[in-house]
Amino acid sequence: MRYQPVMGLEIHAELLTDSKVFCTCQNEFGGSENTRVCPRCSGLPGTLPLLNHDAVRLAAKAGFATDCTVNNYSAFDRKNYFYPDLPKAYQITQFEHPICTDGHITVVGGKDIRINRIHIEEDAGKLVHDDYEGISMADYNRCGVPLIEIVTEPDFRSIEEVQDFVEQIALRLKYAGVCDARMEQGSMRVDVNISIMPVGSTEFGTRAELKNLNSLKAIGRAIEYEINRQSEILDNGGTVVQETRRYNDNHGDTKALRSKEEAHDYRYFPEPDIPPVLISDEDIQSIKDSMPEMPQERFARYTKEYGLPADDANLIISSKEFSDFYDEAVAINPDYKQISNLMLVEVNRQLNDSQLTISDVKYSPADLAELVKMSSDGVVSKNAAKDILKIMFDKGGKPQDIAKENGFIMDNDASGLEDIVNQVIAENADSVESFKSGNQKVFGFLMGQVIRLAGKGANPKMAKDLLTEKLK
């Protein structure tokens, strides 16, 4: 039988706050074990959580980035379970009253994916297993790192929709400054709930929850595997079990972690140590006003106002830093098309060759804007501009200075150039003869000689005109 997959996502994203969500420990990635731990986040008796309001603000921003309603009233609950990486043996989360609800994102094919909710919660620590010694050790650095969980409705019907959604979420969270969305580092983690049903059916099947998906590719492979696995079960007359499955990227398969029967009863109840979070309409508005331009808005601006082709606009917005760089450059020199071309071709080539990102380069958007202006004003030639960009990349420096130091400034003195042209014609009598007898190819050689003598500052058009004139 042919089956239709039905999928919903749960996405955990680490918030870019300076400190943890319920204490003042630094919120960072990496570092030695248990170096960012205090009595609060390690659950010492007598300690109480201290809500980081930056986390609330960022969660609200995530809501605005996904067209959610940001609620005036939200509240924390406790999710109770024992595990050695959870020092209090409960996770503080938002269960009944999440901060954001009812959002949506449009994915490929123009389809709307509904977002049920976004809530704030704390991350757990990590266990480090030492198989040699046969012991496990707890690292609490990640305990209390602020997370949001974005929960969608089961609206996905294809891998492409899922991947597009995940890409868009990652980009929007980055743009909003909410999360750096590095899936491979785990700062954004995607769980896929997936069931299948016969094509044409409207009744959902039993779902499995897929975990440990560290890239878009892994998401695609895991879903594909799972569709096949569930199809095979149904085709053989079996029933799919509701369970959590872990994806293994080395094997490209999923393995059962725990079934519904083994699932915890989390005994949720309202967190008595934190009063409900009340955000006034004014505060909600001011958070909304502080939202940076989202990628989809930038796309519209680039294509409609700047007249960039859709493909170019998409390439620029795909990295916020790259797009910011572009915006800063065009703010100085509104030559949208030329700057876009230079960045998408020459700059991208530099970055690819060197494995760097735009934030690493030695020149500023202003330098780039200036360079494009110098080129379009005829101060330097197009070829000289490329050479200047290379020097800017390698050593840094202002394009004006580089042009002057290297003699790239276009020389518009016709009399000096005329002397050189005369000299070249005089010294290359054979070639001149050859040209006059119809060999057009020789013109290039003669031009080369002129430029060689005149230097990179020579005005190529002027040289060409003069040479043409003299060769008549």
């Binding site: 009595p39 390690s42 659950g43 010492l44 008796p45 007598g46 300690t47 109480l48 959580p49 201290l50 809500l51 406790r78 109770n80 024992f82 050695p84 020092p87 209090k88 043996a89 409960y90 496990s136 707890a138 009863d265 005994r267 949720y268 109840f269 008595p272 140590d273 934190i274 009063p275």
Partner: protein, 478 residues
């Protein structure tokens, strides 16, 4: 002796802080083997505290608490001093920080004599569930002190400290104060920071004061109240000056007497003594108002559901992984957690954890926890309407006086029902004070409670003080 009087003596150098501290340490040495009110006595550090205090006094910088020797309940974290919650689980736990209340008092060079005994994790009304043995009542050492702050109450009653810090989740300051013939104040929820108070039931717990008089409870509350950024549930509404109305005319106040508190189950001698107190205020000129708290009959159930649910969660952190007792038995971490908890907790604590988890299970949550929160809302509303009719409500503190050790502590239902007169105050977050209003035929103290509007401790302290000034309190004879 009154704290204000001790202050005066210290300031006038009629006694030195070291001498005063030594007196109490001598008392502890002599008497506490019979009472068992302290788990940890800090003899050496108390003398050090006192020397430091004396220096402050000598340099003319003494403040309200400089050199006053107090006891601290063993669920309040004290930097570098064992804080056990009277549990095997935390037998050797030494906190790396002070509770906010301790920080405040230490800044004023108070002297800490030691940590007082209690029911394990403050769960109980007898102070007999302590891992370190039960506390005995200074009025009759064959009887209980009440609980859970039994050690705190006994330490005050037996002159083993000048005043005591306790904690009150469902009556744990007021009921032992009543059993031990002293005064116990439970402040408004949020008036005192809970930072450093090892949580039993977070939405009900408040640190309170036990002392020889209402005025003394206010005196000490002045040193510990106030908003604390470390406790998000602490409030900015408290104004301090808790003794400012002491001695003022209270005769124009209206005193509410709720009929539900004088029904079946109340011992006749207690009823008589408490109604005599009502009569006292009436003669004083106060208007006595009949009020009603219809939801009282559900209060004990609601209290045990909410407090046990929160406790089950709060006590989950004691898993043998990070601190506290760790069982060496078992194969994996699940065994480690199970066995540590099995060995570390006593029966009453286990009972509450099971009760609480049961109430929170999906499928039971609505019937138990959710309904309990509805009762909570209902009680708050009923109190709000009561305080439209009166300024202070007067009730018995407990349905009995101190009973014999072993008489009823092993009957959980009977024990729970005995909390009926105290729990509504915690559920509604109100302040209340208990003082002695008489003695039964065995000479045991009878307690009455005055309940006030939220953040209006001043009034109940003043009303209580008025009664105490005309009441002949009998000291425990040891």
């Amino acid at each position: 002796m009154a704290l204000a009087k001790l202050r005066e003596m210290l300031d006038k150098k009629e006694i030195s802080a070291v001498e005063l501290t030594q007196q109490y340490l001598d008392n502890i040495e002599k008497r506490d083997k019979d009472i068992n009110s302290y788990i940890t006595v800090c003899a050496e550090s108390a003398i050090e505290d006192a020397k430091k205090a004396q220096n402050t006094i000598d340099s003319g910088n003494a403040t309200a608490f400089t050199g006053l020797p107090i006891s601290v309940k063993d669920n309040i974290c004290t930097l570098g001093v064992k804080t056990t919650c009277a549990s095997k689980m935390l037998e050797d736990f030494i906190p790396p920080y002070d509770a906010t209340v301790m920080e405040k008092l230490k800044a004023s060079d108070i002297v800490m004599l030691g940590k007082t005994n209690m029911d394990e994790f403050a769960m109980g009304g007898s102070s007999q569930t302590s891992y370190f043995g039960g506390v005995k009542n200074p009025y009759d050492t064959s009887r209980v002190t009440g609980g859970s702050s039994g050690g705190a109450a006994a330490s005050v009653a037996a002159d083993l400290c000048a005043a005591a810090l306790g904690s009150d989740t469902g009556g744990s300051v007021r009921q032992p104060a009543s059993f031990c013939g002293v005064t116990g104040l439970k402040p408004t929820y949020g008036a005192v920071s809970r930072w450093g108070l090892i949580a039993f039931a977070s939405s009900l717990d408040q640190i309170g004061v036990i002392a020889k008089s209402a005025e003394d409870t206010g005196y000490l509350l002045n040193g510990i109240y106030g908003y604390d950024a470390n406790d998000a549930t602490s409030s900015k509404k408290s104004e301090g000056n808790y003794t400012s109305l002491v001695g003022s005319d209270v005769s124009r106040l209206k005193i509410g007497v709720p009929k539900e508190f004088f029904g079946d189950g109340l011992n006749d001698e207690i009823k008589t003594a408490v109604l005599n107190a009502v009569e006292y205020y009436k003669k004083l000129g106060c208007e006595i108002v009949d009020v009603s708290l219809p939801s009282l009959e559900y209060a004990v159930s609601a209290y045990y559901l909410i407090s046990s649910a929160e406790a089950a969660s709060n006590l989950s952190r004691f898993d043998g992984i990070k601190y506290g007792l760790r069982s060496g038995l078992g194969e994996d971490f699940n065994d480690l957690i199970k066995n540590s908890r099995r060995e570390g907790f006593g029966n009453e604590v286990k009972r509450r954890i099971m009760l609480g988890n049961y109430a929170l299970c999906s499928g039971y949550y609505d019937a138990y926890y959710k309904n309990a929160t509805r009762i909570r809302t209902q009680l708050k509303e009923e109190y709000a309407s009561i305080f439209e009719k009166c300024d202070v409500m007067l009730t018995p503190t407990a349905p009995t006086t101190a009973y014999k050790i072993g008489e009823q502590e092993n009957d959980p239902v009977k024990m729970y029902l005995a909390d009926i007169y105290t729990v509504t105050v915690n559920i509604a977050g109100l302040p209340a004070i208990s003082t002695t209003c008489g003695y039964d035929s065995k000479g045991l103290p009878i307690g009455m409670s005055l309940i006030g509007r939220a953040f209006d401790e001043k009034t109940i302290i003043a009303v209580c003080d008025r009664f105490e000034k005309d009441f002949d309190r009998k000291e425990a004879v040891l």
